[in-house]
């Protein structure tokens, strides 16, 4: 049975938030708990993993907005990956793509992190994701 809660992983200064299948209002509590753990561990970058998610309703998207806003206020860089094109569209509609970098998968995120860190450290909004190899970054640069 798939988890209904958000879990977190730590990898040095990189923290992952693994979202469940349904990202809805009930996800809020576990998402905040996981996010707080990352914050306590002073991660510099947060990776939102939606590979296991197939339903995000407006409450779930509102939850993501809240997390992203908090993270960016704290100077953290935020990536999101594993989203379908529909939800990428919704993220764009609500302005999330201005605050985070949308990438296809974790590998793309790591590539972008390497490029980003070597290219500019001042781009704290996370929106400056230039396409690395193969043009695999589809969204953030063009939308921001």
């Amino acid at each position: 049975m798939a988890s209904k809660e958000v879990s977190y992983r730590l990898e040095n200064s990189l923290g992952f938030l693994d979202f469940p299948r349904d990202v809805i209002a009930q996800t809020r509590e576990s998402a905040y708990a996981a996010y707080n753990q990352l914050a306590v561990n002073k991660v510099e970058t947060i990776a939102m993993n939606f590979e296991g998610s197939d339903y995000l309703n407006s409450a779930g998207i509102g939850l993501v907005i809240s997390l992203v806003e908090d993270a960016t206020r704290a100077g953290r860089k935020v990536f999101a990956y594993g989203l379908s094109s529909h939800y990428r569209k919704l993220f764009s509609m609500v302005g999330l793509t201005e605050r985070l970098s949308l990438v296809r998968n974790e590998e793309a995120m790591r590539e972008q992190m390497g490029t980003s860190s070597s290219s500019t450290d001042s781009d704290s909004s996370g929106g400056g994701g230039s396409t690395s190899s193969g043009g695999s970054n589809p969204s953030s640069g063009g939308n921001s």
Partner: protein, 929 residues
């Protein structure tokens, strides 16, 4: 106190007392027996001494015979000296033959003058020859024989000097009386005669022989213990003694003796046999006997005591075992009764209360309670019983409180506190009387879910047996608790199912009568269970006509509700195409027959179409009770003679319609068979007669509502307090004479589209004509319970229809999001998540577009104007924004009856103006949902 003394000590004490008593009795017996024994002892001594005397007399008698026989020999009688040698030889031979060498010192032949002639042995004979013969015969004997030689002299025993002589007179050949004198060794004689008696002397025994001269002739012991010289025995007394007597006397050593005197006459001489023994000998005999008796008695007592002790121990052990067994049986019986009692109910609170009641029966307690873990991890008092104040019966213990109880749960093992004042785990409330405590885990599926507290007002208030019993009890209680919880969960699940079913049904049935100027409608439906099989519908049709339907699905509960939902959907669908009630029923039967047969159910349905323009009512019946009607206030009530098989009962059934011409004021009553078959306590149906009587008694101006109430009240009165055995549905139609309202212009319908367009001026939308909206459509109607999560059902249905229509994946995703958001709003705001309500989702597809209407109950109206999205603290409020952004057309209608969100997407229209970078997106391969 007595319980503290070991029973073995008591047994030992008893044995000691018994032995002491035996000793006392033995001593007493000894005194009595000793006396008797002393007498017997004395008598025995006399007998012995007498026997010795007789024995001695017999010896001497024999000796006399022997001497007499010797004197009869010629050699002895001869007086010639030449015959003396023969005589001496004869004497020698006789002594030897009679074995008298040891007692006869010498034998001497005397002449009648008392002169020794010869003697045996030679030593003495030589003394004669040498003239030194040592003794002479007593003078009295010699004098008698010298005077004539004819004096008869008897054999006699004489003492001459220190010699004892047995002198035997005999007649010599000369005719003179001469003598043969045997010098006897008297001591040797007595030694020989008394040899066996001497051997028998024991202890202090002494044997003496006195002659009557007072001289001690013989003593058996070397050292006499009696000083004869000190006249302990008086010779004079002895001389007068003629019979055996005994005498007790004291000796110098403080002992007491018995002397048995037996007189004996040896020839002419008196002797006394004296047998002397200490009286202690008799006592020793008695003492020995008594000691043996005492020893035997003590041994017997000891043996009896040991056997008694063994028996006692066995009895005690057996008693203890039986008590233990009895206790175990009682405990087992109690536990069995407890188990039965606890399992006699499945209602959780009842079980919890009963646990404490039953516990008191087997373990008396001061107070007891049950704490259960709640969802916050707190321990909550679920039940309490006992002497505590009321303050103990309610409360919640947070995680840091009730440490002892927490330990029980953590270890899932009983915890015992024998002195609560000294145990740091215990935090007593002020004034608490609890001094000892047992906490037992209550487990459900091996998980500790609570604690059974047993409190005592005494320190160490629980025995090991109590604890063992308490553990067994807690296991029983856990099983009961587990059953109750399972039951609770099952009931909750069923209730939830029924709630969902009821929600479905409620959403299907009209909540309030529609506002039809020409027709007043009153209805009510009472379910036999939570979900009824009865249903009714009032469906507006074109041209102002109304479809009126009352049905009854066979069965009840959830299956009936689901069939009802199917029926309603089919009915709404078919009535658009077929307005004639008979043909409608035929069509429904054809459409639903397979499904009905599959689930082995059927449905009765009465279908009517009312035309306000003509007041005509077309009616057809598929198995419902025939309705009653009256055309106006003056008419009699009559039933409408129309019938037919229920839907799903048979194939190829043709139902026919009947047209009734109503007038203003006409009343019609439609009802389910639950009304007619309502039973009273005697089992009598309410029946048609009561109903007809009731109808005919109604006043002329009775309204539809009043008629409804009269019927339901009468039926309720009939059944009394009983629950209805079947669903009961009544619908009353009353025609009202009013001016016909102006019919709505059909051209007004597209204005909804225009309204939506005006709100979304920023995006171009296609304009549809009225005709296009009236194109034949395929409708799917869903009824969602007002529970968040069910929006996914509508989302999936919309996806299926859209995919069937050929919409692109992107558009389908847009539709899914919009439908889900609309449904969520309806559930959350429009119905305020009231589970008794439902959200209706109508999906209507046509050749080029899909329209979705989401209808709620309007508990909360959609704000007007719409608030900006994402303006709340929780970043909510994006739903309507998404709907408006993703759908081609959106219309929102707000009314007290409910909000309607109508959304439309058109085929061939892509939303490419939303700012989504489609060029980049094409490079991603999306995951499959």
């Amino acid at each position: 106190m007595l319980k503290r003394i070991p029973i073995s000590f008591l047994a030992f004490l008893g044995v000691v007392v018994l032995i002491a008593m035996i000793a006392a009795v033995t001593l007493f017996a000894s005194a009595i027996i000793g006396r008797t024994v002393l007498d017997q002892f004395q008598s025995q001594q006399l007998q012995v001494s007498t026997a010795l005397a007789q024995q001695t007399e017999a010896y001497f008698s024999q000796l006399g015979i022997e001497t007499l026989r010797l004197t009869q020999l010629d050699e002895i009688k001869a007086v010639a000296s030449s015959r003396f040698d023969l005589a001496k030889t004869a004497i020698q031979n006789d002594i030897n033959a009679n074995d008298r060498n040891s007692i006869v010192i010498s034998v001497t032949r005397f002449s009648f003058r008392g002169e020794p002639r010869y003697a045996w042995p030679t030593r003495v004979d030589n003394q004669i020859n040498e003239g030194v013969f040592p003794y002479s015969l007593p003078e009295e004997l010699v004098s008698q024989t010298q005077e004539g030689g004819i004096v008869e002299v008897e054999t006699g025993l004489y003492q001459v000097d220190s010699r004892y002589l047995l002198i035997v007179p005999f007649a010599a050949t000369t005719g003179n009386i001469e003598f043969l004198a045997y010098e006897l060794d008297i001591e040797a004689i007595f030694n020989e005669v008394l040899a066996s008696a001497i051997n028998d002397l024991s202890g202090s025994g002494q044997l003496w022989v006195f002659d009557y001269q007072g001289e001690l002739v013989f003593q058996a012991r070397a050292e006499p213990q009696v000083d004869v010289d000190n006249s302990l025995f008086n010779p004079i007394t002895l001389a007068g003694l003629t019979e055996t007597v005994s005498e007790r006397y004291a000796t110098g050593d403080d002992s007491e003796r018995i002397a048995a005197f037996a007189p004996t006459e040896l020839f002419n001489r008196q002797f006394a046999m004296v047998l002397s023994r200490s009286t202690d000998d008799s006592q020793e005999v008695v003492a020995d006997d008594l000691q043996i008796i005492f020893g035997i008695a003590v041994a017997a007592v000891a043996l009896i005591a040991v056997l008694a002790l063994i028996a006692l121990r066995r009895i005690v052990s057996e008693t203890s075992r039986r008590r233990s067994e009895a206790s175990m049986r009682r405990a087992t019986r109690s536990l069995l009764e407890v188990s039965r009692a606890l399992n006699s109910s499945l209602e959780l609170q009842t079980v919890l209360n009963r646990i404490l009641v039953e516990l008191q029966k087997i373990i008396p307690y001061y107070s007891s309670s049950i704490l259960l873990l709640n969802e916050r991890g707190e321990l909550e008092v679920a039940s309490h019983r006992g002497e505590d104040t009321a303050a103990h019966s309610v409360g919640v213990f947070k995680a840091e409180e009730a440490r002892a109880a927490r330990e029980v749960i953590a270890r899932s093992q009983p915890v015992i506190i024998n002195d609560t004042s000294k145990d740091e785990r215990w935090s007593a409330t002020s004034g608490s009387e609890i001094r000892s405590w047992i906490g037992l885990p209550l487990r459900v599926f091996e998980q500790s879910v609570g604690v059974l507290n047993i409190n005592s007002s005494l320190k160490t208030g629980f025995s090991p047996e109590d604890i063992e019993l308490a553990e067994a009890f807690s296991d029983q209680a856990s099983v009961a608790l587990q059953n109750a919880r399972l039951h609770d969960q099952e009931v909750t699940r069923i209730e939830q199912e029924l709630t969902v079913a009821r929600g479905i049904q409620t959403s299907l049935l009209p909540a309030t009568p529609p506002n039809i100027p020409e027709l007043r409608v009153a209805f009510n439906s009472l379910a036999a269970r939570q979900v009824s099989g009865d249903f009714f519908q009032l469906i507006p049709l074109t041209d102002g006509q109304w479809g009126v339907f009352v049905g009854d699905v066979s069965g009840k509960g959830m299956p009936a509700a689901l069939i009802m939902a199917v029926m309603t959907t089919a009915l709404r669908d078919e009535v658009i195409r077929q307005r004639d009630p008979g043909k409608l029923l035929s069509r429904l039967n054809e459409r639903l027959l397979d499904r009905f047969l599959q689930v082995q159910m059927n449905s009765a349905l009465l279908a009517a179409v009312f035309d306000p323009a003509t007041y005509q009512l077309s009616i057809a019946n598929a198995g419902m009770v025939q309705p009653y009607w009256r055309t106006d206030t003056d008419d009699e009530w009559d039933f409408v003679d129309i019938g037919g098989y229920p839907l799903g009962a048979s194939q190829n059934v043709n139902y026919t319609s009947k047209v009734l011409k109503l007038r203003a004021g006409s009343l019609m009553v439609l009802f389910s068979d639950g009304i007619i078959e309502a039973e009273n306590w005697r089992g009598e149906f309410f029946g048609f007669e009561r109903l007809e009587y009731l109808l005919n008694e109604m006043p002329a101006n009775t309204s539809a509502e009043e008629a409804l109430n009269r019927i339901l009240n009468a039926v309720q009165q009939h059944i009394g307090e009983r629950d209805p055995a079947d669903d009961m549905t009544v619908m009353v139609l009353q025609t009202v004479g009013v001016e016909r309202p102006t019919e709505p212009e059909i051209e007004d319908l597209p204005s909804i589209v225009d309204m939506v367009r005006s709100r979304r001026t920023e995006r171009p939308v296609s304009v549809k004509t009225t005709e296009e909206f009236l194109m034949p459509r395929e409708n799917v109607e869903l009824f969602l319970p007002s529970i968040l999560g069910f929006e996914k059902v509508a989302r999936s249905a919309a996806e299926a229809i859209a995919r069937k229509m050929g919409f692109s994946d992107d558009r389908i995703d847009d539709l899914k999001t919009a439908v889900a958001e609309a449904c969520m709003n309806a559930i959350e705001h429009g119905n305020l998540e009231d589970k008794a309500t439902s959200v209706t989702v109508l999906l209507s597809s046509s050749s080029d577009h899909l329209e979705v209407r989401v209808v709620d109950r309007g508990r909360q109206q959609i704000p007007d104007p719409l608030p900006p999205p994402g303006n709340s603290d929780s970043a909510r409020g994006w739903g309507l924004f998404f709907i408006q952004s993703l759908m081609d057309e959106v219309e929102i209608v707000r009314s007290p009856e409910g909000n309607v969100v109508r959304m439309t997407i058109f085929l061939g229209k892509d939303q490419d103006d939303l700012g989504e970078p489609s060029s980049d997106e094409a490079e991603w391969v999306d995951k499959v949902d």
